[in-house]
């Protein structure tokens, strides 16, 4: 768990930094990105084990970022965060390239469990 390289992407800084701190407390190494561009740069440079990506972001949207991540490295699992009611069809489209999705507000234990699954499934 401690050697995971996790990238956390969300435009809501308060949310993302707090979540990062909590994961850090649990010994998970997290890199935070508050927009799509930063996230893509980190992923290109660092090649993380997993990406947790918010779908709703200003500028470069979550789904766009997802496509680009897959273009960079299709092996990196991505867990999507959705804050609102996406239609099932949207979710299904997302799940074609993402590993799974979670609804905000999150349950941290659930997130860690999902990440574990995703990394193990690689």
């Amino acid at each position: 768990m401690a050697d995971w390289k996790v990238v956390l992407v969300d435009d809501e800084e308060e949310f993302v930094t707090t979540l990062a701190e909590r994961l850090d407390l649990r010994g998970i190494n997290v890199q935070v990105a508050t927009n799509g561009e930063i996230a893509l740069r980190i992923i290109e440079n660092d090649s993380p084990d997993i990406v947790v990506l918010d779908v709703m972001m200003p500028g470069l949207g979550g789904l766009e970022v997802l496509q680009r991540i897959k273009a960079i490295n299709s092996q990196i699992p991505v867990i999507l965060l959705t804050g609102h009611g996406s239609t099932e069809q949207e979710i299904e489209t997302m799940l074609e390239s993402a590993y799974d999705y979670l609804m905000k507000p999150l349950n941290i234990d659930e997130l860690i469990k999902k990440m574990q699954e995703a990394i193990n499934s690689r």
């Binding site: 949310f15 707090t18 979540l19 009611g85 069809q89």
Partner: protein
Amino acid sequence: MGINKWISTLTRGLLYYNDENISPIRRHKLRRNMIVLMIVVTIVPITVMAAINYHQYQTELKNETINPLRIMSDKTRHSFELLLEERLSTVKFIASAYRFEELSNTKTLSHILLVLKKEFGGFVDLGVIDDHGIQVSYCGPYELLGKNYSEQSWFQEAQLRGEYVSDVFMGYRKFPHIAVAAQHLSARDKAWTLRATIDTYRFDNLISSMELDPKSDAFLINREGIFQTNSKFYGKILEHCPFLIPQTKHSGTSVIETKDPRGVDVFLAYNHFMEYDYTLVAIKPHSVVLKSWYTLKNKMFFIFIVSIVVIILVIIKLTGILVRQIREAVEKRESALRELEHSHKLSSIGRLAAGVAHEINNPMAIINEKAGLMKDIVEFTPDFKKKAKLLELTESIIQSVERCKTITHRLLGFARRLEVLFEVLDLNKIIKEVIGFLEREALYRKINLNINLADDLPHISSDRGQLQQVFLNILTNAFAAVEDGGQITITTWDNDADTVGVSIRDNGCGMSEDVLHHIFEPFFTTKKGTGTGLGLPITYGIVKKLGGDFKVQSQEREGTTFTVYLLKKPKNEQGG
């Protein structure tokens, strides 16, 4: 134009109703007004026409039947006058042709009487009276020679007018007779009078020549109203006539309508003689004169009544149909409007809910993480004073956030306009799956689940996820409604060619009429504090979206039955 305007004002006043609230009472009024209006505009003209026709026909027919009576009466009077004139002329001729001396001779007188009897008939006696009123010669059945007539009125009248015709009297052998007298006037002689008595059988001949029908009568009366001939119905000769005949001066026949002593309505034709004090009276009962009129009247009346009855029946029937159609149209429109309104309400509430949920969700996520971090920090810090208290507080915050999450997610779920994914499904299987979620609760609360699933239930084409939500929502409500140990019955059946039915019945608390009216409205809830008021609106929305139908029956304290009808095939696939 004026009439047109007037009519439209009238009809609007009577018939116009704001059709948005056409209550049974107003419908009843509308129906009544329509019937009254239609009856008035049809029956009033018909009645007026009938009345005019009635009057017209009556007058025409009366004239037509009275005229012959009038003509016959005129003719008969004329014959009477001719007869009397002739007799009087004969007597006058004899009085002029002979001298007093000649007629004073009884022999000559009897010869003349003989000739008169032979040539004219009806002459009974003949006598000569001198200027003192003394009968100087007489030839006839009585012994009247030497009788003094000077005080008698007829003699005085004969003296005065030169001639005289008497009323009828009972004479020889009790036969009715009249007396005719003429005065002989000459410059040389004294005035004298010749008097003849004539029987009146010729009068009867004249009356019978009128050829009256058996119910009619005709007779002669004098100025005092005494019968001069026998009447069939009203009295014998010399009796008093029961009718009061007006004494008019004009000649010709007058006809009046009156009642005879028997109470029969009659036409009475009377005809005063010009020269003599007689009146010819002819009487015909209405029934005879107006026989054809009565027949016509009855026919007219029959046709009138039948038409009125037919018109009224048709109007009532027609109005019933019309009002029913209006009501159906109004109801159809109302229900369409209600549905539209409902879906508008749902969609606008949905948009609002989605907006609110979305805006709240992000701060919620932050609160969740901050509280989570607080909890983490407290947990990772070694024991300190009030650690337990802090943990409890943060846990409470996290749980509240969890509750908010449930609400926002339901709101979002409600707002979502989900595309329906059709697949062929075994409805029984879906219901079993849903029951699976609730089995533990049923076991724990000792709720008896009665499951009657039809074995031959055909597979349907529908959306699995949404159907699960529908049945989960209904079953959750049923579980909330029943007491521990209650009963819930789930039944499926093949409803008809197009639909299958699912009913979920509970014996729980039920709902009042008032609650029942609101259960499909978003945010209406009876579960204070625990319900979002979205379960049934979502369920209703899904069933409608899938093209199905949704029914609720409920009785307070007895339970509720939700029935869902689902299409076997989606609408656009049917028949295509």
